[in-house]
Symmetry: C2
Subunit: 229 residues, 2 copies
Amino acid sequence: MGLHSVHMPGRTRIPKPTAQRLSLYLRELNGRSTDKRPTVSSKQLGAAVGLTDTQVRKDLACFGQFGRPGVGYDVASLRERLREIVGTHRQWRAAVVGIGNIGRALLSYRRFREEGFEIVAIFDQAPGLVGTRTGGLTVQPLTKLREVIQREGVSIGVIAVPPEAAQEVANALVAAGVRGLLNFAPRRLDLKTGVPTVDVDFTGALEKLAFEVGETNSNRLLVRKGKRS
Amino acid sequence: MGLHSVHMPGRTRIPKPTAQRLSLYLRELNGRSTDKRPTVSSKQLGAAVGLTDTQVRKDLACFGQFGRPGVGYDVASLRERLREIVGTHRQWRAAVVGIGNIGRALLSYRRFREEGFEIVAIFDQAPGLVGTRTGGLTVQPLTKLREVIQREGVSIGVIAVPPEAAQEVANALVAAGVRGLLNFAPRRLDLKTGVPTVDVDFTGALEKLAFEVGETNSNRLLVRKGKRS
DNA sequence: CTTTGTGAAATTATTCACAGCA
DNA sequence: TGCTGTGAATAATTTCACAAAG
């Protein structure tokens, strides 16, 4: 099988949808006891996350071949492999900027740590908050952002400030050296540099839901196609 | 122009990516003062949300024609139109189940109400929480879920419970009559019926980010394509 | 018989290119 | 000129179908 595929280090581009699905697979694999069923087939894995078997195989095939025909994938080793690919195998040091409702919720969200993301610094602008302690950390003023980010070796910045402040905070974080941003502010961030950003937009999610509810429930009267007035 | 397109009420299917982008357009339009610049071109709108002008036009064209050649789109009326399409023009009554960190953050998230989503009931299982008040609402026990949902006319259920409980809560909400689910629990929900679900997955977002950071930063050593061992 | 990995086909989404209106 | 709306072309993604392996 390996006889003729001598293309070693020229990895093929990963389709965006595939990258998205990686965390679904990982989540499912993490939830599986490796004892009772040491292997999983693409069909089982697909069913668990709501995809076809073919889709699962195509996705995994982007990263190499680690299944065994007639058997399936070894749960433990596939999990390890995916962890490496996603990057959860290493420890990520993160900073949260904005200690409002969302910021606080993130601080006490246990799961982050379990997946390798450790929040090591928190910032806020409000004089009333600076200096107080939350979740074992002291709220730092924004003026110390650069200093703290660099001292603590933070590589992931989490933006939980109001939308008006988001771009400015993003700029500061990038200037301080973070390598990726998780953005909870409902606005688009412009980053010239190649700093990846992932948006989490509650309102957007609700709107998507409202739209789908509208679509499923009444496919009438929603839109009248054609010129109006 | 309308001379030969007599297909009135048979609306064309909306591509999923288009549906996703609707909330981006809406967000941008909401942020525009309608006074100084009453119109916006597809190019401007696209630039604001990070898309091409063609993409914007194609998306909007799914719902009809409301731009004017040489001029652009009237901000106010496009906004209204999009609100109708997305469903934000009407009021949505929502219930939050699970008053932990995330649940509480959602309760004080002002923007929901601004977009037409009103939280009118909250539930939790913990005896210590039931009966306490948060954000003007009294925490109800899960045993009263059906009764309260129906009495309050709730149509959107928000799931903010631990993943183990999520499926059960989802079933109960659907049985009680909600028409859509917003799921913050990191697991997939199985709904036989056509009840749309939108997932918000913090950890998934962080993993997506970790993956992208890994991709941009070091395109070496991440993956060795080919059989291993 | 089961299940992987993968080209080829089908489907879906984006971009191009341009006619037509203001 | 500036801009929309839209078919046609291109690109991306998913699904099919099957050879090869356990």
